[in-house]
Chain length 253, copies 2
């Protein structure tokens, strides 16, 4: 009864700049049977065009309208809210957001700022949040997998600001229920008939299950032994994207 | 029945480089009645000599042997443990620790590294802790008060690493019970007969109460309205160091 598929990118289709074995074949099989697919990513280090370029370079054909990114959802949320956030984001992402002058800042929007996570930048964000400004986070991922090891993602920096200011961030990317709901709406099926395939136990799989979807955890990318123990027993754990697609095809309507 | 006093420094005796009103008089009254006093600080941005110099410049006479610092307790702990920690600490503090070569690192020791809290430094610490190395923290304070506002202390960065690596730090400074026990042992009285006076609801007062001491929260320094609601109802809250010493003199043995 699976009628739609959400696919994480990094760690599921590729690691670094290398496609994972079987990923192209798996995507082709999904497209061949006509199951609607959306690609959903919390990556907030690269602009949308760079993500599409990277996928194309690795010979994944991902139509623009099937890519759901956390920055895109965050920009829409900020626009609708009328807030004027201070942006603690990666410099490459500035074009995707409206930049407001400091005297109007009434919120903090945080992405995976990478090297921009300096003491000074974090402290400036802290002072705003400490004074009551809402903290908007494009994700809550703990770490991601790079070619040379695991690296800190946005989550730890959000947790740092939450702890310091005694507040709780509003998460706009995965694992926010609203994010999954928007992606599922675009699939045109019910949440219960959609599955999220990802390598992040919390952001991808746990979040999807909390939002009423099914979840499949792949043992590639950032996956570490035991990750499945941290999530709902309802999640399925498989070797890789090939096995995950096999599961989809077996369980589709 | 108070027989000994532990006093926090910044926010209680001074803010920035300015002594707080009534602080000199309060300390003099304690010394005059002969109550043993120890000065206890989690400051890990300044070496011991700089702290003593700063106190002397502000005309607080604090004998060397009455100053208990978190780095001093941390250095003793590391020495005793036989660990070879990677040091994520303020550069000014390097002389207080043995520096071990990278190939021997089997732990991470974190202090308030200030500007040294870069993405690269935090990520290097994360990778060690993620691989199982213990995380030793010289404190867990959320923020401190500077002349121009509140600023991030060590705690949020410890929380970030704990969250990312799914681990829990061993805290060596306040609010660790061992820290308070060592300070009280030096006072020569029982914990129940010692009082900790500080401006940090968690690190100073909450920690002291958990360690069996009495706790007095002052409404100076980093204190914010409502801080007392976050701690044990056994804590006393007073206006400042003058009122805290008044309480000590009323309740002493």
């Amino acid at each position: 009864m699976i009628e739609g598929v959400l696919l994480d990118l990094s760690g599921v289709l590729y690691v670094g700049d290398e496609p994972l074995v079987g990923a192209h074949e798996a995507i082709r099989r999904l497209f061949d049977v006509g199951v609607p697919v959306r690609f959903v990513t919390n990556t907030t280090r690269s602009p949308r065009a760079a993500i599409l370029d990277k996928l194309a370079r690795m010979r994944f054909s991902v139509p623009d309208e099937t890519l759901f990114t956390a920055p895109q959802v965050a920009a829409a949320f900020v626009e609708k809210s009328g807030l004027h956030p201070h942006l603690l984001i990666h410099p490459d992402l500035r074009d995707e957001f409206t930049v407001h002058p400091p005297e109007t800042w009434d919120a903090v929007l945080i992405g995976d700022a990478g090297q921009e996570f300096t003491y000074a930048n974090l402290n400036a964000a802290f002072r705003l949040v400490f004074d009551g400004a809402p903290l908007l986070a494009m994700g809550y991922n703990k770490y991601f997998k790079e070619a040379d090891g695991h690296s800190l993602d946005i989550g730890p920096f959000v947790a740092a600001l939450e702890f310091a200011a005694g507040t709780q961030a509003k998460v706009l990317g995965k694992p926010a229920t609203e994010f999954f709901e928007a992606a599922v709406a675009s699939l045109g099926c019910k949440s219960a008939h959609a599955v999220m395939i990802g390598d992040d136990a919390e952001a991808d799989v746990g979040g999807a299950i909390d939002a009423g979807l099914q979840g499949v955890l792949v043992r590639t990318g950032k996956y570490c032994k035991g990750d499945e123990d941290r999530i709902d027993p309802g999640a399925i754990t498989v070797a890789d994207i090939g096995a995950a697609v096999e599961w989809v095809l077996t369980n589709r309507a």
